[in-house]
C-alpha cells in the first residue's frame, strides 16, 4: 500500500468531526568504527502511520509501525475511541485547509548502504593512514531518509522528503584525542581526506601538554560548541512556558537585549543545504507543538535579531495567550554576527592568551531560572598564546548560561555549517560562527583525556 493510499483510506474510514493522517516511510544506513576497524553497521526500513482523530475538539492519536491495509480500520477506530473518551483539548482550533503539494503523488525517497559507496573506501584509506601515523580512528556515519505525507479532512495533502546525514570522526593517540564532524544531506559533499588531515594536525597540537587550573578564561568557542549551546537555548524558548513564568525567557521576554553585538539567531526551512520541513508536522500536542497546527506553512523566523529577543516558539494556541505572532519551531538553526566575521584561524591569530575548544559534551540544565548549563570540554582544549596554538591543556567542567554568555561575547566569527557534537542525535542542521568569550567559566578540572 502506497503511503498516499494509506492516508486516503484512513481519511475515508474516519467518522469523527475531523481527522489528520501522517504516513511516513523511512530508510537508514549506518557504519560505526573504533580503533581503525569497523564495529557495527546496519540498514533499515520502516513505515509508520499516525491517525489523529478529532471529535469536537477532543483528540486521540494512535501511531503504528508497519500498519498494513487490513489494520487501517482498527487503527482509525482506536484513535477515534481515544478522541471520544477525551476532554476537549486546550489547543483545539480549526484545521488548516486546502493546500495540496505538487509532488504529493511522488514515491517515497529511499536510502541504503550504497550511500556510502564513495565514503567507505575513503574511510578505509583514513584507517590505513591513521595506522601508519600511530593513531586510531573512531566514529560513526549515518544516513536517514524519511518521506512524510500529511493529509487532513480539510483537504491538506502535503509531502516532505527529509534526508539527514552526519559524520563523526575522532582520532586518538596515546596522548591526545581530536574530533571533527559534519552534517550532510547525501555524503557526496564530504572531504574525508581533509577531515583526516585536520585531525592529525590537532593531534600534533597535543605534543605539548600543560595543566591549567579551573577558572574563568578567555575562550574561543568553535561553531560546534556554539551550536550545542544555542540549540539548548532554542529548545527552551517556548512562549507558553515563558508566559507562565517558568523559564529564563520569563525574565528575558521578546524585546529584551541579550547581546551588545548585532547577533541574529534564526531558522529557515529553505536555508541552502539545511532544508527541512516547510510546514508543521506534529504527531502529538505538547508544550510547544499542536496537532491542530499541522500543515501551517513555516518560514524564516528570527529568534534573536540585532542582539534582542525577537520571537519565542509559538503554536497558534500560545500565540493567542501571549498576543504574539504564530512562530512554530523549525528544524534548523543559524546564527550570524556582523558581516565580515573572521575565520577561526584569524580569531586565534588575534588572541593574546586564551583557550580554543573543540566541542562540548554532556550538557545538562542546572538552573532553569538562569538557564545555567553544565557540561564538559572534549577532544582537545588548546592553549593560544600570542596568536598561536602552543599546546593542549586538560579538560574542564563548565557552568555557563547561553543567555548570560551572549551578553559577554566580544567577537563573532564567520558563520559556517557545523555538526552539534552533543545534540546531533536530535538536531543536525546548524550553521554557527565561532564566538570569543572573555571569561568562560571553567568550573572544575576533568581528568578525562
Amino acid at each position: 500500500m502506497r503511503p498516499q493510499e494509506a492516508v486516503e483510506r484512513a481519511l475515508d474510514l474516519s467518522t469523527t468531526s475531523d481527522c489528520m493522517v501522517i504516513a511516513e516511510e523511512s530508510s537508514s544506513a549506518n557504519l560505526r568504527w573504533a580503533g581503525n576497524t569497523l564495529t557495527t553497521n546496519g540498514v533499515g526500513r520502516s513505515r509508520r502511520l499516525t491517525v489523529i482523530a478529532v471529535q469536537d475538539g477532543s483528540v486521540g492519536v494512535v501511531s503504528r509501525a508497519g500498519a498494513g491495509a487490513d489494520e487501517l480500520p482498527d487503527l482509525v477506530k482506536a484513535a477515534e475511541e481515544q478522541a471520544r473518551g477525551a476532554e476537549p483539548a486546550e489547543d483545539a482550533a480549526p484545521l488548516p485547509a486546502g493546500a495540496v503539494a505538487g509532488d504529493w503523488d511522488a514515491e517515497p525517497a529511499v536510502t541504503d548502504i550504497s550511500v556510502f559507496s564513495s565514503f567507505a573506501p575513503a574511510l578505509g584509506e583514513q584507517f590505513a593512514a591513521a595506522q601508519a601515523a600511530g593513531s586510531r580512528l573512531y566514529g560513526f556515519a549515518e544516513h536517514q531518509l524519511t518521506s512524510a505525507y500529511l493529509g487532513s479532512s480539510t483537504g491538506l495533502r502535503l509531502r516532505h522528503d527529509q534526508p539527514t546525514g552526519r559524520l563523526e570522526l575522532n582520532a586518538k593517540n596515546d596522548d591526545s584525542s581530536a574530533w571533527t564532524g559534519a552534517g550532510t544531506r547525501d555524503f557526496t559533499d564530504l572531504d574525508v581526506p581533509g577531515l583526516g588531515a585536520e585531525l592529525e594536525r590537532r593531534l600534533g597540537w597535543g605534543r605539548r601538554r600543560l595543566d591549567l587550573p579551573a577558572g574563568r578564561y578567555e575562550t574561543l568557542l568553535p561553531p560546534s560548541a556554539v551550536s550545542d549551546l544555542m540549540i539548548y537555548l532554542y529548545w527552551t524558548a517556548g512562549a507558553r512556558d515563558a508566559h507562565e513564568g517558568r523559564t529564563v525567557f520569563s525574565s528575558h521576554p521578546v524585546g529584551s537585549r541579550l547581546s551588545p553585538l548585532p547577533l541574529r539567531l534564526y531558522s529557515d526551512p529553505h536555508a541552502p543545504g539545511m532544508e527541512c520541513a516547510p510546514f508543521v508536522l506534529a504527531h502529538a500536542s505538547g508544550r510547544d507543538t499542536s496537532v491542530f497546527d499541522n500543515g501551517l506553512a513555516l518560514g524564516a523566523t528570527d529568534w534573536i535579531s540585532g542582539g534582542e529577543v525577537a520571537a519565542l516558539t509559538q503554536t497558534r494556541h500560545s500565540a493567542g495567550l501571549t498576543g504574539r505572532p504564530v512562530t512554530p519551531a523549525v528544524d534548523n538553526l543559524i546564527m550570524e554576527g556582523a558581516p565580515g566575521g573572521a575565520t577561526l584561524e584569524e580569531m586565534v591569530a588575534r588572541t593574546e592568551r586564551g583557550l580554543l575548544l573543540t566541542c562540548l559534551w554532556y550538557i545538562r540544565e542546572v538552573d532553569p531560572q538562569s538557564l545555567l548549563l553544565t557540561g564538559l570540554t572534549r577532544d582537545g582544549v588548546y592553549l593560544v598564546e600570542n596568536g598561536e596554538i602552543t599546546g593542549e591543556v586538560n579538560n574542564f567542567r563548565f557552568n555557563e548560561s547561553p543567555v548570560d554568555l551572549l551578553s559577554r561575547v566580544t567577537e563573532t566569527g564567520r558563520t559556517e555549517r557545523t555538526l552539534p557534537r552533543e545534540w546531533s542525535d536530535y538536531f543536525t542542521r546548524a550553521a554557527m560562527p565561532a564566538l570569543r568569550v572573555p571569561d568562560y567559566n571553567m568550573s572544575t578540572v576533568s581528568r578525562a583525556s
Binding site: 569497523l38 533499515g44 489547543d91 507562565e244 502529538a284 572534549r378 557552568n399 568550573s443 581528568r447
Partner: protein
C-alpha cells in the same frame, strides 16, 4: 505469571525465524540470530489537570543479524512474510560483505548453551494497556487538582507505559518469547513568586510493574502528593547554599543516578575497551584495574543483575540468547567485575557473557547495555535518620534532577529535587541552588556508611542513552541511603556569575 500477549504469539514467529535463519545459513553466515518485536507504548501528559498529550504507539518489526566471514551484518524491516524475512537475511549478509572490506577485527562470540524453547514474563499484576485511557487521565487529573488546590501554580503530570514483546531465535538453537511491562508516573509542581520560580517533582521511580503501581502497590502516591506543596513553598523561600565542603547524606532517590553514571556506565566493558570512545566515551576503570582499583570505601558493595523483580533491565534472556544472571562489580570497595555481551566477553577471554546485550527496537542492533547495577544495603545497617544524626554540618540530598559526567566517568556534577541543611545531626530547613561535584573514586571512597535494608529503594530510568545510532534502555538501580564525608557543594547562582 501472565500469559504472553496472544496477539503477539499469534504472529508467524517461528515461520519467519526459520525463513531468515535458513537463508542466513545458506549464505554462509557463521552466526545468525533473528528477532521479532512488538513494542506498545502510551504517553499521557497533562498540564494543570487538562490532557495535553495523548500518544499511543505500536511498533512491530523484525531483524536479522549475522556474522559473515568475521564481520557483523544487520538488517531490519517491517514486512512479516517469510520472503521478507529471508530477504533481510540476504541484506544482512550483503552489508557484512560491504563492511568486511574495512573490518580488521574478526567477530567471535563467547559460547552460550542452547536453551531450547523458553518463555518469560515480567512480574506485574495489571496490564496498563487493559485500562481505558480515560481512567488513567482521570487519575492523573485528580492528582494534579490536589496539588493545585494546595496552592501550587502549575502541575505537569505524565504517565509513560510500555509493553515489550521480544521473540528471539538463533542458529544455535535458542528460541525465546518474552514480555515485559513498565510504567513511569511523574508529577512536577511549579510555584512562581515575585519573578522567581521553582519546581518539585515526585520521587516515585519508574518500575517494572503494571497499573497497580499507581493504585497503591509499590508506592504511596497519596503520601507523596500530600507533602509536595508545603515542601515546594519552603524550597522557594529557602536560603541559597554557601558553596564549600560538606558531609552529605544521599537519599536513594538521588543516589541511584550517581550509581548509574559513575559505576554503571564506568563498568561497561565495551566502553572500557574503547568501543564507545567517539560517542558515550570510555572509562577510567580499564581492565588493568580489575581486582586492583579501590573503587570505593570498604562499605561499598555493588552488584550487576538482570534478574531483580520489578527491575527495568530485568529479563529472562538477553538479545543474544544469554540466560540472565547476577554478579559482583565492586566487592568491599574493590573493583571486581564488568558488564559484558558475547563479543566483548570473547575478546577478553571470558568463558561466558553475563547477558547485557539489548536492542531497544526491532530496528536496532543489539549492543552491550547496562544491567541493574545496585548497591547492597548493610545488613542490620542504620536508618536514614541515624545517618543524618552522624553529621554535624551537612546536606541531605533527595530526588534526582540534573546530571552530567565526563567521557571517562571521572568528573561528575549532580543536582536534586530537595536539599536539607543538616546541623548537629538534625534537619534544619531546605537550601536552594545546590549542586554537588566530585571525582568518581574520590566520592565513593568518601562513603563512610550505607543504610540498612529498610532504606533500600529501587530507582531507575526509562531512557538511558548509548550507542550510535542512539538507543535508549530502561534500567534500575537499587541502593540504600548513604553517608559521604567532605563532598564539594557548588552554588548554582555563583556558578552563573550572579
Amino acid at each position: 505469571m501472565h500469559e504472553i500477549d496472544p496477539a503477539f504469539t499469534a504472529l508467524p514467529l517461528r515461520v519467519l525465524a526459520d525463513a531468515a535463519l535458513s537463508r542466513a545459513r545458506e549464505l554462509g553466515a557463521s552466526h545468525a540470530d533473528f528477532r521479532l518485536e512488538r513494542i506498545r507504548s502510551q504517553s499521557l501528559r497533562l498540564k494543570d489537570g487538562a490532557l495535553e498529550t495523548s500518544l499511543e504507539t505500536d511498533d512491530i518489526g523484525l531483524s536479522v543479524r549475522v556474522v559473515k566471514d568475521g564481520t557483523w551484518g544487520f538488517a531490519s524491516g517491517i514486512d512479516l512474510t517469510p520472503e521478507a524475512a529471508a530477504g533481510l537475511a540476504g541484506q544482512a549478509v550483503a552489508v557484512a560483505r560491504v563492511a568486511g572490506a574495512i573490518n580488521r577485527e574478526p567477530v567471535e562470540l563467547a559460547p552460550e548453551p542452547a536453551h531450547g524453547e523458553q518463555t518469560w514474563v515480567s512480574s506485574y499484576e495489571i496490564d496498563p494497556f487493559a485500562i481505558p485511557s480515560a481512567e488513567k487521565v482521570e487519575l492523573l487529573g485528580e492528582w494534579s487538582r490536589r496539588l493545585l488546590a494546595a496552592g501550587v501554580d502549575h502541575v505537569d503530570a505524565s504517565l509513560l507505559q510500555v509493553k515489550e514483546n521480544k521473540f528471539f531465535a538463533s542458529l544455535e538453537g535458542t528460541v525465546t518469547t518474552q514480555q515485559r511491562v513498565r510504567v513511569h508516573p511523574q508529577l512536577t509542581a511549579v510555584r512562581v513568586a515575585q519573578g522567581a520560580f521553582d519546581t518539585m517533582r515526585t520521587l516515585a521511580p519508574p518500575a517494572g510493574r503494571g497499573w497497580e503501581y499507581l493504585t497503591g502497590t509499590g508506592w504511596d502516591f497519596d503520601a507523596e502528593l500530600a507533602e509536595i506543596p508545603s515542601l515546594l513553598a519552603e524550597k522557594l523561600a529557602a536560603p541559597s547554599v554557601e558553596a564549600g565542603s560538606y558531609d552529605v547524606v544521599v537519599d536513594p532517590s538521588n543516589l541511584w543516578l550517581t550509581i548509574h553514571e559513575s559505576i554503571g556506565h564506568a563498568t561497561e566493558l565495551d566502553r572500557a575497551l574503547g568501543y564507545e570512545a567517539a560517542y558515550a566515551g570510555t572509562s577510567f576503570a580499564t581492565p588493568d584495574k580489575l581486582g586492583r582499583l579501590q573503587y570505593g570505601s570498604p562499605v561499598l558493595n555493588v552488584t550487576g543483575d538482570r534478574t531483580a523483580e520489578h527491575g527495568l533491565a530485568t529479563i529472562g534472556f538477553d538479545d543474544e540468547g544469554v540466560a540472565t544472571q547476577e554478579w559482583d562489580i565492586v566487592t568491599g570497595g574493590l573493583f571486581t567485575g564488568y558488564q559484558t555481551d558475547r563479543r566483548i566477553a570473547h575478546l577478553t577471554g571470558r568463558e561466558r557473557s553475563n547477558g547485557c546485550a539489548f536492542a531497544d527496537s526491532p530496528a536496532s542492533t543489539p549492543i552491550q547495555r547496562m544491567a541493574n547495577v545496585s548497591i547492597r544495603p548493610a545488613p542490620g545497617g542504620p536508618s536514614t535518620e541515624e545517618l543524618i544524626s552522624r553529621v554535624e554540618n551537612g546536606v541531605y540530598i533527595v530526588g534526582d534532577k540534573s546530571w552530567s559526567i565526563d567521557m571517562q566517568r571521572h568528573n561528575f556534577q549532580f543536582t536534586g529535587q530537595r536539599f536539607f541543611r543538616i546541623r548537629g545531626g538534625r534537619l534544619d530547613g531546605q537550601l536552594r541552588d545546590v549542586a554537588y561535584q566530585a571525582t568518581t573514586t574520590d566520592f565513593w571512597n568518601s562513603m563512610e556508611a550505607v543504610g540498612g535494608p529498610q532504606t533500600y529503594v529501587l530507582g531507575g530510568a526509562f531512557n538511558c542513552g548509548k550507542g550510535q545510532p542512539g538507543q535508549v534502555a530502561p534500567v534500575s538501580h537499587g541502593c540504600p541511603s548513604a553517608l559521604f564525608r567532605g563532598v564539594n557543594i557548588l552554588n548554582a547562582l555563583k556558578e552563573a556569575g550572579k
